[in-house]
């Protein structure tokens, strides 16, 4: 595959992943209640509901919380906060967050963009520690799509881990991302992945650890 072809393939796969993975179910009744509050002009109450659900992992609430921050309704106008929540939703598969997340991100100056990338990386690592293997893909995409300059080496490392933990799409993203690196970086990523795989095994909940984890990781968890 040529470098150009490889880049296009990665872009297509990133778009596919960001666009088509279904979002986890939210508390539908709470979402409806919050939407009623918005329609009734009770924005602060809506924000409180969206915030609780967003922190609990509802990607629908996350995108709506982003919208409330972007509009400054019920909370102070805050594009950085809006961008964070829009990307949180998007990276965990909420398709409706795609357009807002892009439109918000381009408004941020570099320092704030970096802050959002750091916060996403930190929070997605916590999700990964909880055994959400999708978060490994989100971590890779954060390095490619949010951080500027992008860090394809670090992204490749996350995709390599995602694939190792058998996250769907992790395999293809890993192969495409690695193909864009030169030989030396490719081998460095593989060496680093080998090194941190065991660490991640130990950080995962015991019931989420794959059988391929080093024995020490399983024993420590027992």
């Amino acid at each position: 595959m040529t470098a150009h072809g490889s880049r296009r393939a990665r872009q297509a796969l990133v778009a596919f992943w960001l666009g088509l993975v279904p979002a986890p179910a939210a508390s539908a009744r709470d979402i409806e209640t919050a939407l009623d509050h918005v329609r009734d002009g009770r924005a602060a109450e809506a924000v409180a509901i969206f915030r609780d659900l967003a922190r609990a992992g509802s990607s629908v609430a996350q995108v709506n919380l982003a919208v409330m921050h972007a509009r400054g309704e019920g909370v102070p106008l805050d594009i950085e906060e809006a961008t964070y929540w829009a990307w949180r939703a998007r990276l965990m598969g909420e398709t409706r967050a795609a357009a807002p997340s892009e439109a918000l991100l381009v408004q941020l100056p570099p320092a704030q963009r970096e802050a959002v990338a750091d916060r996403l990386a930190s929070d997605l690592e916590l999700l990964a520690e909880d055994g959400s293997f999708r978060a490994f893909v989100g971590l890779g995409l954060t390095e490619l799509e949010v951080r500027r300059p992008a860090d394809p080496r670090r992204a490749s490392l996350w995709f390599t881990l995602a694939a190792a933990f058998e996250e769907p799409h992790g395999f293809a993203l890993r192969d495409i991302a690695l193909a864009e690196l030169d030989e030396r970086d490719r081998l460095r990523v593989q060496a680093e992945a080998r090194s941190v795989f065991g660490d991640w095994c130990e950080r995962l909940p015991l019931e989420k650890r794959p059988a391929s984890c080093p024995a020490a990781a399983s024993e420590n968890g027992n």
Binding site: V14, I31, E32, R39, A66, T95, A97, A99, V106
Partner: protein, 123 residues
């Protein structure tokens, strides 16, 4: 066929600068000319869904979408066949919606799909 659009199927990130509007946001990755009704039915739901989601955070974009969706799409490099029309219906319904119709040979219009202009993501 009548498609009800909800914005769930918005396409993923558009990467190419070719179709990008001045402010750095793109509805599509490249200049997109939908040549006939099958192409409209295939691609317009995603594009309108993406436009709707953008409108949630941008009042000016939302106004443009509500006032003249066809013009807005053209500004963002999405071009429709002349036989396809986009109209915003407001009267007698709870929420405004964009109705996409096809002009038939006998002068009648056939509804292809519609998009409810909701304020934010539903469940």
């Amino acid at each position: 066929m009548l498609n009800r659009l909800s914005g769930h199927t918005a396409t993923g990130a558009a990467r190419s600068g070719e179709g990008r509007a001045a402010e750095g946001f793109a509805l599509v990755g490249r200049v997109t000319r939908l040549e006939d009704v099958p192409e409209v039915e295939r691609h317009l739901p995603d594009i309108l869904g993406r436009a709707l989601a953008r409108s949630w955070i941008d009042p000016q974009f939302a106004r443009s979408l509500e006032v003249d969706p066809r013009h807005l799409l053209a500004r963002y490099n999405v071009h429709l066949p002349e036989s396809v029309d986009l109209n915003v219906e407001q009267a007698g319904i709870e929420r405004p919606r964009i109705v996409v119709t096809e002009l038939l040979g006998d002068g009648r219009r056939r509804r292809l799909m519609y998009l409810q202009l909701v304020m934010m993501a539903g469940r």
